[in-house]
Amino acid sequence: MGYSIVYLSLVVLIPLAGLLIRVTAMSWADFVRVAFSDRALAAYRLTFGASFLAATINAVLGTLLAWVLTRYRFPGRKILDALVDFPFALPTAVAGLTLANLFSQTGWLGQFLVPLGLHLAYTTGGIVLALTFVSLPFVVRTLQPVLEEFEVELEEAAATLGAGRWCTFRRVVFPALLPALMTGFALAFARAVGEYGSVLFISSNKPYVSEITPQVIMGWLDQFEYANAMAVAVVMLSASFAILITINLLERWASRFQR
């Protein structure tokens, strides 16, 4: 207990406190002017919006992937399973570079997609794509153990009572997965909000359009406006914190049936 508090303080709480102290040096008016400037607001919207979208995509596709990995036995399953961790291992800048290359007008996939009007490189769509990529493992990895432990008898019981496959999934399987799914969603979302490297490469980084919050912060830092950077950072921090707490509460509600 003591160790964990010390550890948590050193790694998380002290830097955060430092951040807040730095910001308190600013006047309230200055803080509002910087932290809620149109450019910053556009960046918040994009950051949280794209992250939310990415986490949602992962919640759906990640559930599917986790399901396939736990329920089916097929050649190459182990390799696929190992590949899920790939986004963890890959430096995100490399990921961004690869994706931009793949989806640009001349890229492998881009040359087919761009004529169809699907611009995934240097657009907000590209940001969602990059964020989806880097946060992919979370939903899969949180759901896998739950799915592995899930008793097949529960599905069979539903079937003997007359429920079809979809109905069984919706009423029996899904509610049992929900807590883990929300944990995975929260982790994926948090990871996406914090992502910087890959977005740098795949986004066009235009202020008001395709600039995420970390880039705004970097912008202020480049101008040696540390306090301004901190102000934006504090908003980020508070928002992330609020969202995580909300998800945590929802998760607790969803797992009320567990001991």
């Binding site: 008793e151 008898e153 529960l154 069979e156 019981a157 539903a158 079937a159 003997t160 009572l161 007359g162 429920a163 079809g164 109905c167 009423r171 029996v172 509610p175 049992a176 009320r256 049936f257 567990q258 001991r259």
Partner: protein
Amino acid sequence: MSIELRHVSKRFGSVSAVEDVSLTVDDGELVALLGPSGGGKTTVLRMIAGLEVPTSGDLLVRGERVNDVPVQKRNIGFVFQSYALFKTMSVFDNVAFGLKIRNTPPAEMQARVDELLKLFGLDGLGRRLPHQLSGGQRQRVAIARALAPRPSVLLLDEPFGAVDAKIRQELREWLVRLHRELHVTTIFVTHDQEEAMEVSNRIVIFSRGRLEQIGSPRDVYEQPKNEFVARFIGVLNVLELTVRGGAARLNELSFPSHGVAEGETLRIGFRPYAVQISSNLQEHPHSAVIRHVYFLGVQLRLELETPSGLILRTRIVKDDFLRQGLEQGSSVSFQIREYRVLSTGANNLSPEVATVHSAANFAEGI
């Protein structure tokens, strides 16, 4: 609801789980599928439910072939060994599940669930979640859930396996009462022969995927078809004798040779109740010492050891035991009143051989 299996087999890959099983269950019966684990009884139950499809053979319900009817359409109630209650749902929602799927009107659903909860002694627990219930209560919720949509047959897989002994006894009696009241055709799987004897009208005995015998509890106990059944239902003393000088002998015991050739082996089996003992050492032809006394209530189970070290098991009523002044270590005389000849050699599953009353033979044999 009559259910019929005709030459049903089930293979899982190269493993044969059920082999050529034919049996009929009549309307309103309470049948036990009994056998050691891995005997194929659960697979048979799951095939009746539609959770497994037979590899070959036909499954008929009221004369109609249902092999390809999916589980959802079979109108069966299935109770799993693990109960498989839906953890995310209240007791009420669990029991109502089958009714909801069938789009039962809410008022009717409410009435049916309330009726079942009351019948099962669960009234007032409707809003609890499964983890807030005791083992026995969970069991009852599982049965109530299976019965709610009025299935034509109730299937239970090891229904009393996961509760402790005391509750198990209560649940057995309760299941018999329930069956008498609802009169729904019920088939349950168990590996406990006492449970099967006590609860069911008919017992179907399986071993290694094959059906060994079907019959009333009394039939299978008194007229076992083969050695497997005889050993599985109740206790059986088995002796391996060698024929020498025209009689089958083992140490101090000797029996007629039953036509077995000189030098060959004769195996006989007898129930504990066939061994009669007396504190009067002159009364019976053989002598032994009481090695162990197992207290079973009104009855005692005794382990006898003959001077040459043979161990025999017998039963005696407690009052009789006390009246004769017996205790552990006492010397007694005994006789074997009846026995069956078992098949010789490796084949355990021999055809039945008639009971022989052998008191006269003993006198000669000694």
